[in-house]
Subunit: 351 residues, 2 copies
Amino acid sequence: MTIKVQSYAAPAVKSKLSPLQVERRDPRPDDVVIEVLYCGICHSDLHQVNDDWGGSIYPMVPGHEVIGRVLSVGPAVKRFKVGDQVGVGCMVDSCRDCGACKKGLEQYCENKSTLTYNDRDRRDKMPTYGGYSEKIIVTEAFVLKIPDGLDLKGAAPLLCAGITLWSPLRHWKVAKGSQVAIVGLGGLGHMGLKLAKAMGAEVTLFSRSPGKEADARRLGAQHIVISTDQKQMDAVKGRFDLIIDTVPYAHDMNPYLATLALNGSLVVVGYLGNVEPSLNTVPLILGRKAVAGSVIGGIPETQEMLDFCGKHGVVSDVEVIKIQDVNEAYKRMLKSDVKYRFVIDMASLKG
Amino acid sequence: MTIKVQSYAAPAVKSKLSPLQVERRDPRPDDVVIEVLYCGICHSDLHQVNDDWGGSIYPMVPGHEVIGRVLSVGPAVKRFKVGDQVGVGCMVDSCRDCGACKKGLEQYCENKSTLTYNDRDRRDKMPTYGGYSEKIIVTEAFVLKIPDGLDLKGAAPLLCAGITLWSPLRHWKVAKGSQVAIVGLGGLGHMGLKLAKAMGAEVTLFSRSPGKEADARRLGAQHIVISTDQKQMDAVKGRFDLIIDTVPYAHDMNPYLATLALNGSLVVVGYLGNVEPSLNTVPLILGRKAVAGSVIGGIPETQEMLDFCGKHGVVSDVEVIKIQDVNEAYKRMLKSDVKYRFVIDMASLKG
């Protein structure tokens, strides 16, 4: 038995999204059935629709920044009840048994976590469908609580963009007085400014182009450094404990290495591919610096971030759209023409 | 006033080394005057003689793995007395005032530490001359104690090769049960095997060529992985907490990234230059892995290592030569024809 749910889907590779009924599983005892209220649009939605990383499954219902309300719960569900505000991020399951899962780092599951869409359920092997949909059905262990008072539209991007920045900020132990820099001011970068600021860090934005100063300051940056201006780069030489690089394409990382402090780390979260131009080891060796990577975050740290955001009133800056405008939004996203994240009001699906 | 000391020096770039009297400073109140007994030969001696890194000062007396005996001490010297066994490593001074120096990380001195040779003294601006010399004069703060019972010939390479491996092993918190791999079996690599083993780690050697198995096991490796054998590489996928890469030339680091565990680090200590072929960020991001660098070690950690080596009986495997054979030793070093470090018996200088 399955449930038919109205969704927006890409029927085939590189195709436009259009309405489609898809079949979701009948709820299992540990499942939470969620009415989707808002769903953020992530760059990776477009990458997967276009099969940029290979292995895409069609029809594809994207969306892994899901905010909703609980419609029903299975008899084994303990932490949620009908009417609760909940979130679902990039994962809907994992092996729950490997070293990473046991540490609450399901994003690094040795047996690969189950992605919210473009993947297959571990138990029944049905395709997973994301949040561009009226309903989503997720095992309790991968459902997040959304704190009261948090703006629901702005909370949606926390589930991917937010946790992608939060996890390295926490892992690299950012605290009051830490020197943190964020490279790039997009969906990821703007969350980096907000979260690092709220954690008490002194926050710098690296940007290639001027004109972002006022926005960057409003979002939490105390300093803006134009990375193409050698004088400005020299002025921050050796400064940063942590740089989070959100740029989604190949770019020269060497200039940023010079701005790391002793023992500092440059953490790449936006670009999957070869580091070109190539990295030079001299600054790494002579300053015990590191280039590292990080992907989203585990379920416990995602809940921790949501609670933190509830307490500090941190949400994403969003532009709310109707689902019917999703294809246009993808085009604008490619041109970075969004401040700073599109969020779909899923009520529009019924319209 | 200066003191004339018999030495072996390179009179000019790329020239052979030959006997030369050089002038060292008259001892200052905080100086220790040391009779050099043994001096190790480091790859970087040859690099600097050849001016591979630019800025070399000639005549050059190389040598920064110095073991000696105290001949006299200045009136301000507190920790040493005539007759003490002492060591001098790669540095003879630093600013002692910056953040790094205050943490005992003089190797990362923000104002650049003073190198044992091929540099200039911070106070009198005289050139520094290394350990291929009958005597060396060093401020007390940069002189190390050599524990009783440690073989002096074998102890010499601890001052550079040893500390170069010890510092990352400690910084990355290697302990009993840690999974450690060493890439390359030379002067640095063989110290990595010995030290990691003595620290209680499970130690693997990555080698490009077979035939090193027996030696590697004797030195401390429990496992030997031929890095050109994909099957062997696959068998250690995701295993290592720390890989220390001692290879002194450009090489593909990507295969090693796959063998790092979640949160693992590949630490480059042997190669200064561009990472080519270029690094791929995918394993970094999907396993929160890091590529880092490290250089020698600070004075406190060098003393800590020497004390550890005294307790565990760890010294370098050396081939002792006469100073008259240093040019031949350089040639053999280039062919990796040494197990595993040349050490000059400085008594030969009088011969």
